[in-house]
């Protein structure tokens, strides 16, 4: 770097030189910023949790409470459709805990888990509509109305699979306008008013600005497990134990999980 600067000083005219100098100043500032970010606070260990999109709010609250009781640990989350998280784990993503919206999805990475996955909460399907449900969409059958814009999750997404099963069991055919890759995508399209309705989880209606109604008799099971071959298995197990503990369960129920 000094060599380059020196040669610029020797050869370049004055204006050129000062511009060059400013350029390096910018680089130095960026370097300072980058290194500055890395050296804040005492050393902490991190638990990386890959969790189903439907757990976004609940697990953020779990993470906060967990960090309060474990000051030496930090939790970072990656929320996405369970099928997407499983695909990432198969590609070697550095997760220490995996929590999916159903058992079938987590079973696809059984060989990468440290033990059998446990069911830690239950959810229900729900119809999401605009606030106040102006179109009176309270049953699966009402979603078959022609001209209605219904959004579902894709067939590999747990909520999409569960919705397809529920529709099939009820003998109802719905023509969706979009197949989203996570339940949050369905909720967003309904919230923005682009879709009239979507099939989501009951928990997505809790404290949300979308309307809708839970569908009875559509229970789903959320599963959690630590991954094998991770640097600090005890930390991962501590997070799972916290989620399954009484305080952990209270948080989950406050977000509508059972």
């Amino acid at each position: 770097m000094t060599h380059l600067l020196a040669s610029a000083r020797r050869r370049g005219p004055g204006v050129h030189l000062s511009r060059r100098k400013r350029g390096w100043g910018g680089v130095a500032a960026v370097l300072l910023l980058v290194t500055g970010c890395g050296s804040s606070g005492p050393p902490q260990r991190t638990v990386t949790v890959f969790a189903a999109a439907s757990l976004t709010k609940a697990f953020q609250a779990e993470g906060k409470a967990f960090q309060d009781s474990h000051p030496d640990l930090r939790v970072t989350f990656s929320f996405a459709g369970s099928q997407s998280l499983v695909a990432q784990v198969q590609q070697g993503a550095p997760a220490s805990v995996l929590a999916t919206a159903d058992l079938a999805t987590i079973a696809a990475v059984k060989s990468r888990l440290s033990g059998p996955p446990v069911v830690f909460a239950h959810n229900q399907l729900a119809i999401a509509t605009a606030k106040g449900d102006p179109l009176h969409l309270t049953t699966l059958a009402s979603l078959a109305k022609p001209g209605l814009k219904v959004v579902l999750a894709g067939p590999t997404v747990p909520v999409g699979k569960a919705a397809a099963n529920a529709l099939k069991a009820a003998g109802i055919t719905v023509h969706p306008v979009s197949l989203e890759d996570a339940v949050t995508g369905v909720v967003t399209k309904v919230r923005l008013g682009e879709a009239d309705a979507g099939i989501v989880y009951a928990t997505d209606l809790t404290g949300s600005d979308v309307g809708g109604v839970a569908l009875s008799g559509t229970s789903t099971s959320l599963a959690i497990a630590a991954l094998s071959g991770i640097p600090a298995p005890a930390d991962a197990e501590a997070f799972i134990a916290f989620v399954r503990s009484d305080p952990g369960h209270t948080i989950l129920t406050s977000y509508g999980f059972q």
């Binding site: 459709g81 099928q83 997407s84 499983v86 695909a87 814009k149 959004v151 894709g154 590999t156 969706p176 306008v177 979009s178 197949l179 989203e180 890759d181 399209k189 923005l192 008013g193 682009e194 879709a195």
Partner: protein, 256 residues
């Protein structure tokens, strides 16, 4: 005499070449060539390919029809605020596509600025193939406008002025003198716009959703397939890579 390449430049140059080429080679390595004809013959894959082709062609045609006149206005008219407009046209070029999708929703969605008008007309583009074309044109148009505008600005005006003094109407001058002169740039801009349209992902999935046969173009299909059928995703990716290589080759021969 050839100067010696300094090590300080040769090493990062080599690293950047590896960075750019290794992922592409890895994709080719993992592509299930033996299964390729079968995979590409699958109805769901064909559906995505045809949809992508149709949408990209339509978006490119739209960009051409709307973009060349805009480039001309930016380069040739004393429009006030022209420089600002030129800058603003560039914004979609560097805007994260997903932000473009959000912006499109806020403009053309049911609850968007033009929402009531579009609902009235029964022409809400969200969740339709038109929505895909609109999203693709939004990201592709700036490539065409900037390429053509640059060429027009660099073009000496003598010929146009002569044609004008000889009594040709301005539109005739544009069509018979100006346009042929910047033909190669129009072609290059069209290819760039087409490539961008074909690869569009973020704005499409945000604005138009993802439904096989209607809005799930090849990039969206690749993303969806990667989660349960990686081999099919690799195969479709290889197709897009091949198209990209062809476009680049086409562009190079054009420019020469």
């Amino acid at each position: 005499m050839r100067p010696r390449t300094p090590l300080l430049l040769a090493v990062p140059a080599g690293v950047s070449a590896v960075l750019l080429l290794l992922p592409l080679l890895a994709l080719l390595d993992r592509t299930p060539w033996g299964r390729l004809p079968g995979l590409l013959g699958r109805p769901d894959v064909q559906q995505a390919l045809w949809l992508s082709l149709r949408c990209a062609l339509a978006a490119t045609a739209l960009s051409l029809l709307l973009g060349v006149p805009l480039a001309w206005v930016l380069a040739r008219t004393p429009l006030p605020g022209r420089r600002v407009l030129r800058g603003l046209v560039t914004v979609p070029l560097v805007l994260p596509p997903v932000v473009g999708g959000v912006a499109l929703l806020l403009a053309f969605g049911r609850r968007g600025v033009l929402g009531d008008l579009l609902v009235e007309a029964g022409a809400v583009p969200a969740f339709t193939t038109w929505g895909v074309i609109l999203a693709e044109a939004f990201v592709a148009l700036p490539f065409l406008v900037l390429t053509v505008e640059g060429a027009l600005t660099a073009l000496p005006r003598d010929a146009e002025e002569v044609a004008g003094t000889l009594g040709s109407a301005p539109l005739r001058v544009f069509l018979t003198v100006t346009l042929p002169a910047v033909g190669p740039s129009v072609a290059a801009g069209t290819v760039l716009a087409g490539a961008r349209a074909l690869g569009e992902f973020g704005a499409t999935t945000t604005f138009a959703g993802s439904l096989p046969g209607r809005t799930q173009t090849v990039p969206l299909a690749v993303y969806a397939l990667l989660q349960d059928d990686p081999a099919a995703a690799y195969a479709l990716s290889a197709v897009l890579l091949a198209v990209s290589v062809l476009l680049v080759l086409g562009l190079r021969t054009r420019v020469r």
